[in-house]
Amino acid sequence: MGKRRVAVVGAGLTKFVRRAQETGPELSHQAVKMALDSADLKLKDIDMVTLGTAPDAFDGVHMKGEYLLSGAGGNNKPYIRNFVGGGTGVFAPIHGWMHVASGAADICMVVAEEKMSCCHPHPAGAFITIFDHTTEQPLKPTLIWIFALEMRRYMETYGLSAEDIARVAVKNKKNALDHPSAQVAEEVTIKDVLDSEMLAEPVHRLDISPSSDGAAAMILASEDVAKRLTDKPIWLDGVGWNLDTSYWATRDLYYPRYVEKAARMAYDMAGIKEPSKEIHVAEPYDPFDYKELHHMEGLMLCERGEAAQLTADGVTERDGNLPICPSGGALGVGNPIAATGLMKVIEIYLQLKGDAGKRQVPGDPRVGVAQAWGDLMQVGTVTVLRR
């Protein structure tokens, strides 16, 4: 049996906040309930559930999949947690796609949750364990190091300025003003970004997304079921993922070749030959502002080194020729890691349906791509959606 075509038929999203009063299971429950309501389905209609959430260290809860089980609606169902670090949020629907495309499930609930605020004094501390315990941790690294190192390498390779990079934060924070889930939406200027606290040169505080709590959910269905449920199915037509070596210091950080490999896999599946022409709207992962540019290049939405110029020219604005992160992205909506990735896939779903409200990009977009990234700067996860 070949692969079955898979559609998105519903979605739900909580607000992203610095500190939620709700627990992780409660956040998940809210997102799942909203997704069920949007598709006019009941939990009993869901065949299987897959849940994505990032490191256990944020919550200090081991077996986080089981901890979140009830909220995700997974009780007494085939349920599993998936995880590829920061790439998890876009991998979660890929995992759901496997369930439906394979014929194992007709309807699959995809949930992504993160509650980072449990970790004190700051969730950044939990990241020390991603570094090699013997050859790197004794140097007392912080997560920002790897971003600072990668950002400088990227800037140096193409001769980019701090302004070139900051422009992304300005755009995304502004876009997020129209997103009901947004945590850090605001009008800021390039100067505001460059005047914000210098954390690890060249990274300023406003170059970085916040830490957040939140959850997202999406319902996937097989073609026959989708056509029964909605007259406007959005197809999950391409999925791709790829991991590069964990010896991260041995590859040139200026270009995310693992994102390109993941994108090629997804584009081949979706029959996309010229991504820069055939893709109408994109949500690359933007935990740091330079990452949006880096990922636009890895996704082959432009030439290498060209993303900053397109941004300066307004091409990536919501009303530009190639809208990038019309949601407001991690920089504006917030960054509850796994939930952010799924929020991005949801944004593409809404954009293609024409249901993005004030955030709707013009031009009746029909094809969109969402992407996430993570682990030790080594994983790319990509989904292509089509109306």
């Binding site: 200090g60 700051h122 007392k140 912080t142 190091w145 690890a200 010896y247 210091a249």
Partner: protein, 169 residues
Amino acid sequence: MTIIKVPVKGLSSKEYERSLKVTWQPELQYAWDNGIAIGKYLEALKDGKILGSRCEKCHRIMLPARSFCELCWRPVDEYLPVKDTGIVNTFSICHVNWDASRLKPREPRHLPAVIEIEGASAGMGIMHLLGNVKPKDIYIGMKVKAKWKPRKDREGTITDILYFEPVRK
């Protein structure tokens, strides 16, 4: 269906202070085995050498030393020391600690870098720190050399190299 209203409100700092919560500070300790290849790598550091491994199939000299070539998927053929000099591939001047707390104004800044080590295959870098250099004088492409701890103080850890410092002519 356009999403215009979403659940969850979020707590302000004040509300959060007032909210009831349970706190836990785990006191766990782990002992990580060094393994075969990194064990040799650490032994070599104690001896003042940076150890790589060589694969005859792809002709790479890899850092840090590893027991199998992950590209050719076969055991390495040899462990061999490379130089203790290198080129700065990228660097940062960091003003925060590992837990995001801020360095005090007079504390020296942390200077992490990726250093491509000479004698290994092109692009083989390790993450380490720079030192004995003014932050403003660091640049990509700068040649650096390991500053070792005195031999008697070395313990077979990555910190047996205190930092990499500029090679001054």
